[in-house]
Amino acid sequence: MLYAILCYNDESAAWSWSKDEEDACMARLAVVQEKLATQGKLGPVARLMPTTAATTLRKDREPPLVIDGPFAETKEQLLGFYVVDCASLDEALDVARDLAKANPGGAYEIRPLAVFRPGDVAG
């Protein structure tokens, strides 16, 4: 089963990190990702730009309305996601726990994928 691990945290707190803190965190995450990759469990990984770079298209009207900013004003924002291949929810939770140890604070939403098309855009 494929699961998306959606990463939520307060982005303004993340902006308060020093470069050193951020580098250290990224290095710890790389270790976890490396392990998943060698097990063949790691799908696409994405880190999103801050919500200030976001634009929202409200399509519940015609013509759709373009709004600056994210879809929802929330305390925690969607900062990125992983797609992982796990045998069970328990295993996906274990993966999320490993990632959480490398990057504490905020929350992961573990959400099974209904459809997955890997696509072929280059990163």
Binding site: D10, S12, A13, A14, W15, S16, W17, K19, E21, A24, C25, M49, P50, T51, T52, A53, T55, V66, I67, D68, G69, E73, K75, N103, P104, G105
Partner: protein
């Protein structure tokens, strides 16, 4: 990241909102800052055990309010009653949460806190110092280090600036739409000042000052979160991201400043550039250009060029022409002349530069540019005089060294066949 580092980041990010709200309750900056300090101390005790609260700012505002009230009660026993306004504004703690949901209050609180630092009587350096202390919460020691001055001198500077702000009276009423726009533009200017304090640092000081750039970007992103549809705020954030992206290439191993043409472009931060470009893209959609957007667009053209010779100078020339109309200034014309030189040659550029002589005669960069143009035109003696003026006016050893290099080339050329 350790628990403590995480709490530290949460406190830092909550600070503008929390101090802004506490300032509204207590109507006194010192009381608000002290209440915030006390709330932080409690957070450091409570959060490692209970985990951080979902809404750190709301928690800090509530706790800060309570400790502020306690302090006022204690003071009451020794001092006359505080003014009525101080007490009557303090409702039940519950409504702190209700107010938290009121986005307008929250925006105005942060804007007010930034705005009081922009008092026109304060010289720019003091505006920046006091904003770093009050809004960003940097310690006096950190600010002193960034300004490369002694701690006690900085302490004095900040105390004086705060006294001036208090004497001027803080505008507590919610601003009207026109006032809000005016405040926002003063604040944007001040945030860019913070950035420039970090960016235009001279060699030797550059490393100590560079955290100011990061702090300015953080504040500008905060502004953009509060005003997500303001194209000039998008432009401001983009401008700083696109300039800061070059930070790693701007200093050589000896800490000397490396000029744009000589920078190792592989060291530029692609992530920051991508974000800056995304923001300009967003801003352009509004078709309401302004000086920050145009400057960001110029920075973007430099950042997009993989090699100096790939730079789109005709477009930079056009953008500077827009900027000259929006914000007439001899410095902008001088910058435009550099682009004109690349597009239309040194004669056209020199014709643009000569009329600036009176206003820019004390400006290093004017003589440097003029000298380079004269040299291109083969007027070596005039060029030599201009370069010598530039060296005499150089602010940093790197600036002087760069001109000397040109002079050396000139002399080598003159003594050649």
């Amino acid at each position: 990241m350790s628990d403590l580092a995480w709490i530290d980041a949460a406190l830092t990010s909550a600070r503008p909102q929390a101090v802004g709200a506490l300032l509204r309750y207590f109507r006194d900056l010192d009381t608000a800052e002290e209440a915030f300090q006390n709330a932080c101390l409690r957070a450091l005790k409570a959060w490692p055990q209970n985990g951080p609260p979902r809404d750190a700012a709301a928690w800090l505002i509530m706790v800060g309010r309570n400790t502020g009230i306690d302090a006022a009660r204690r003071a009451k026993k020794q001092a006359p009653l505080p003014p009525e306004a101080l007490i009557s504004d303090l409702g039940d703690v519950e409504d702190a949460v209700v107010e938290r949901l009121d986005g307008a209050h929250y925006r105005d609180d942060i804007l007010r806190l930034l705005f009081i630092c922009c008092h026109p009587d304060l010289p720019p350096a003091q505006q920046v110092a006091v904003a770093l202390r009050i809004v960003s919460g940097l310690s006096v020691q950190q600010i002193a280090r960034a300004f490369v001055v002694g701690e006690s001198a900085m302490e004095q500077r900040i105390t004086r600036a705060k006294a001036r702000i208090a004497g001027a009276g803080v505008p507590f009423e919610a601003p009207g739409p026109v006032e809000r726009v005016e405040r926002l533009s003063s604040v944007a200017r001040m945030v860019y000042l913070i950035f420039n304090e970090g960016y235009s640092a001279n060699a030797g000081e550059a490393r100590a000052r560079s955290p100011l750039c990061g702090e300015a970007i953080r504040l500008a992103r905060l502004l953009l979160k509060l005003y997500p549809a303001e194209p000039e705020i998008m432009g401001l954030v983009a401008l700083m991201l696109l300039q800061h992206a070059r930070a790693a290439a701007r200093l050589d191993a000896g800490g000397e400043i490396v000029l744009l043409d000589d920078q190792d472009r592989a060291l530029w931060d692609r992530e920051l550039i991508a974000e800056g470009l995304a923001l300009i893209d967003k801003a352009m959609r509004h078709a309401r250009p302004g000086p920050y957007q145009v400057q960001a667009a110029i920075a973007a053209l430099h950042d997009r060029a993989e090699r100096p010779e790939d730079t789109d100078w005709p477009q930079i020339d056009r953008l500077y022409a827009h900027l000259e109309v929006m914000q007439p200034s001899p410095i902008i014309t001088l910058n435009r002349a550099v682009a004109v030189d690349k597009v239309r040659g040194p004669e056209a550029a020199l014709a643009m530069v000569e009329p600036l002589a009176e206003r820019l005669s004390g400006y290093f960069y004017f003589h440097g540019v003029r000298g380079a143009l004269l040299l291109e035109l083969g007027r070596t003696e005039d060029a030599r005089i201009a370069f010598n003026r530039a060296i005499a006016l150089a602010n940093t050893p790197a600036e002087a060294a760069h001109i000397r290099l040109q002079l050396d080339r000139l002399m080598a050329g003159a003594s050649g066949p």
